[in-house]
Symmetry: C2
Subunit: 619 residues, 2 copies
């Protein structure tokens, strides 16, 4: 068993209520590291192609990474994956919090959930033991309520949970899973997969210890982080991700009214600064992290917003704020609470509402469709009502619960042009017209539009990779955010390898560790004498495995594109759009840089170079 891992992976079958423990060898751990690589490995090897993601054949996999739970900041991250009911492709979402580290302390590096329970259950995992617990009484309950009840009935306040609320139970295709109520595995509809299995959630308690190769070195790194957290993470300490909202708006890249503009005239009203000055009542954090970038808000009137559900991140502020044309911060906080309580992804939910509003404004749907709801942009009350309808799959909500892509097909009348998604998943709120490297990432991400692994225009390219430091030192000219030539593609190629690696690490992207420090962190945890080369290759591996999963499911190069709005509607002072030919050239260049063929299919030699030639059998 390698240091830093338990060397044990738990496989649970809900149909039979059985479980077994698998012990992969060290080659497995050193090849895949964790997270996305674990998930893609199992999904590719074990799922039959073309299954319905909401049928029992799908598998739901919680995966920690090599660093998850290591005693230094940023190690609270972990992932959950399955075939996505939203995209029909590789699905996965990562979250911070404490669930991943607790799973590891409970003795498991990953949890594979198969089959479907005959009636609602939850899993109870404690120190290597597994129980299937009846959840009939919890079905229909909101997340915080279920969390409370589970802790009470198991008589342990230190339990960590990953749960769904009614949205997941009702198979909303963008339902999420919440750990400890506020940490969302947000995207690609993993909550619907959990719901489809009659699984309310997983409760975990672990008192074990993972062995580390070098605790002294780990302690030194943890101390460095604490000493340096202010200078690096001041933004996070002040206002977390919401602190970036006004910057997005000033640059002309705050997605507004369903991406019809990049400027929201009332941005001040929904800013992190405004939240800080009004409804913020506390800060929250993840396992071992000194940054505390999470918000806690409370509202008494006109809505009750319970602080137990945390508060909106930047993405949520944009989703229910500018994207819906809503400037009512309290309403946004309420929408955030509704989403967390009912386990809906705030990005996809906000995008669904904004899409419906856009259709309403364009006359594609009318009050006849909305049961009288006045779905104009800016109508906060209608927005909240629609979120509830989506949760309940009632009225217009039943259509929107299928996601904007399917809803647009249902609406017809040109609604497709207003559906702002890639591969079925709505875009996050780093505008791909202003930040075209990020836009390229939306087009290419295995999970559809995603910002966790692609957000490169805001930052210099990876410092240790050369380009970035040359830029930082003033040696190379920085690339404009709207640049999309081969230099940006090169940055993107390197950047996504590393960002995908962070997912496999289980390390938060906001940590200030240098690339070299990350390699040292891995070394302190595992004892492996690793390097940025080996590590970047770990990330590259995950990009290839997820790509092959998607190709097997029928995805083609044609699906690597952006929605019409990004080509057609200019934003910002300079009228930025994505040029379709430039995007296509960038995508083809990326394929070639990745060692893929012109159709974006990994070559056998590339898979051999990565030591995953087995995956070529699935092409």
């Amino acid at each position: 068993m390698p240091f830093g891992y338990n060397g044990r992976i738990l496989r649970v079958n809900l149909t039979n209520q059985t479980f077994e423990v698998e012990e992969p060898d060290e080659i497995f751990y050193r090849t895949y590291f964790g997270g996305r690589n674990f998930i893609a490995y199992y999904l590719l090897n074990e799922l039959k192609p073309s299954i319905d993601p909401l049928e029992p054949d799908n598998k739901l996999i919680f995966a920690t990474g090599v660093l998850t739970g290591a005693p230094t900041g940023g190690t609270g991250r972990n992932s959950v994956g399955a075939k996505s009911p939203l995209t029909g492709l590789y699905g996965e979402a990562e979250a911070g919090g404490f669930f991943g580290s607790e799973l590891k302390k409970a003795g498991f590096d990953a949890l594979i959930i198969e089959g479907k329970a005959v009636k609602p259950v939850y899993l109870w995992i404690k120190d290597g033991q597994v129980e299937f617990k009846d959840a009939t009484h919890l079905w229909g309950k909101k997340v915080a309520c279920a969390d409370k009840q589970i802790k009470a009935e198991l008589n342990d306040k230190l339990i960590r949970t990953a749960l769904i609320g009614p949205g997941g139970e009702k198979l909303v295709r963008f339902a999420c899973i919440l750990n400890d109520i506020v940490h969302a595995y947000g995207r690609t509809g993993m909550g619907a997969v959990m719901g489809s299995k009659n699984l309310k959630g997983v409760a975990v308690r672990g008192r074990g210890k993972v062995e580390y190769a070098n605790r002294q070195k780990l302690a030194a790194i943890a101390k460095w982080l604490i000493d340096n957290v202010d200078s690096y993470c001041g933004w996070a300490k002040f206002a977390g991700t919401p602190g970036s909202l006004l910057g997005h708006n000033a640059a002309g890249g705050l997605p507004t009214r369903n991406y019809s503009s990049g400027y929201f005239e009332k941005a001040e009203e929904i800013s992190g600064e405004k939240m800080h000055a009004t409804i913020l009542v506390g800060r929250d954090t993840c396992f071992a992290c000194p940054v505390r970038c999470k918000q806690v808000v409370e509202v008494k009137e006109p809505y009750q917003v319970d602080r137990i559900y945390g508060g909106p991140e930047y993405e949520t502020l944009a989703a229910f704020g500018s994207l819906c044309g809503v400037s009512d911060l309290k309403a946004i906080a309420k929408a955030n609470e509704l989403c967390n309580a009912n386990s809906l992804d705030t990005i996809s939910a906000g995008a669904a509402v904004a899409f419906a509003m856009d259709c309403f404004e364009h006359g594609i749907i009318t009050t006849a469709d909305t049961e009288g709801l006045d779905l104009k942009f800016g109508n906060a009350g209608a927005m909240l009502e629609l979120v509830q309808q989506i949760t309940d799959r009632q009225g217009l909500g039943a259509i929107l619960a299928e996601g904007v892509e399917k809803a647009a097909q249902t609406f017809g009348k040109g609604a497709e042009k207003l559906a702002v998604h890639v591969k079925g998943q709505p875009l996050p709120f780093h505008d791909g017209r202003l930040k075209q490297g990020t836009g390229l990432g939306y087009a290419l991400s295995p999970t559809g539009a995603d910002h966790n692994h692609n957000m490169l225009d805001d930052f210099y390219a990876p410092g240790g990779f050369g380009m970035g430091e040359m830029t930082a030192l003033g040696i190379l000219e920085p690339l404009a955010t709207n640049c999309l030539d081969h230099r940006k593609v090169r940055m993107y190629t390197y950047h996504t390898m590393w960002k995908s690696l962070l997912n496999c690490f289980g390390l938060c992207m906001f940590m200030p560790y240098s690339y070299q420090q990350q390699a040292e962190l891995v070394q302190a945890v595992t004892g492996w004498n690793t390097s940025t080369w080996e590590l970047a290759k770990v990330g590259e591996r995950s990009i290839n495995l997820t790509r092959i999963f998607n190709l097997r499911e029928g995805m083609t190069a044609k699906d690597d594109t952006l929605p019409p709005r990004l080509f057609e509607v200019p934003i910002g002072d300079k009228g930025y759009v994505v040029e379709p030919e430039q995007l296509q050239l960038a995508i083809k260049t990326y394929y070639a840089m990745m060692g893929w063929d012109e159709e974006g299919r990994p070559t056998l030699a590339k898979l051999q170079e990565l030591g995953i030639e087995w995956a070529g059998d699935f092409l």
Copy 2:
């Protein structure tokens, strides 16, 4: 000007006796680092295609690397390059010694020599100043004699020289350049290029200091090396490279009688151990190096062998020993002296003699061709005579001075099958049938058969790259030396990136620094926050640039192959040969792993990814 460099490159024109100094920007230095990358950059940008390598249009470039001359062991390496008169392709040879570090102290990172002097000259470079000195009186002089005379007439014993002897003057196509008499820039005929320019050599003296970013860290690394040199480099301290000869023989991979066998029954007689016990009189070393891996030998009878010319390395022992069937260590020492004195590459010279002996044994040439010389394998006297004839371009030597490829064409009668070379350059003496990864490297090296950048079967794959450490830790099974499947190709791909990087560093391949320590060394020298990723890419860049140079000169994928003997004549207990189809598959796999097309041509996207898209214009 970046730390670790002078920021100055000297360009000398022999035709006009003028010079100028160029000051590239930091992008240039951080992109190319030095050595092979500098040379390939200038040759590709400045040479017209298809020139005759022995005409004045050719340029001879001495290039240091980022680490050359830094105050820690292993930094004496530097390279000299030009279009090769032996291969007609990219030519380059690296050497240790003190010349490179002295050039750097004299104020230059590289020296580009253009044109042709009307009469013999040598260059005198002192502390940034350049003089063209008459060398008429030195022409025809042996290397040590010329060295001595230059030091006397410039009245400075601390001068470092890079010189040719009569072999270079007479344009023997495998003439080398010697620095400080014993350190050979051995391969690809750089001495003939020097001779073709009427240039006897370069004398350098520098009293300047290169600035380093972190002298304290440099000192710590130097101390680490001294503290650890025994445990890592014990072999070198005992017998240097000659200490490996008996191991080669025991494994059945000591090239014998022109590669007709891998076992020499008299190997003991020519071993490092034997040399140690008999003719060894001292040890020598390179700039700042505590290893002292070089031999000094002296022989009084039956030949006088002057200790000033050092002593034979493993390659030379094999070239004039087993390859010629000669077991007379003193004769080998004499051949080594002859080669150094006359500036002949010992590998190519020994290979030429062994080839001639093989042709003689096969009746392709007879005593009529040899002017009575009995060229049987094992005839040490005939061997020495033939080396002298090659130097003088007399008799059979005139044919052999053209190299084995051209000599075989001259001989006809099937002599081609006995000419053991790749792209015109004879194979070194790590047998590609036993060590098939090295064989693959011979087939693919830009300089024809070369062992400096390809010798991977002896070692684990690069530790920091993952595979190697997994092997060392017993996680992965080690690959057999005769394995040539895609796993070996992967090792080779990574390995040659790094070995090519060492050339760009100016760092000796025998140093025990880990990959991480090398990155730290670069950081201490330059202040750059670099990484194994960036560094491997530097090496990869040089592989692409040299490849493009060769493609422009008409080389095709067909030239990436091995000589017939390696396919046809089995060696060792198990009868190892290289299987042609397996080699071809390995080569195609390598092309694909490198991001090259099926004809081995770098794709534009690969060049863009490496930031050298300009080189695509030459394809």
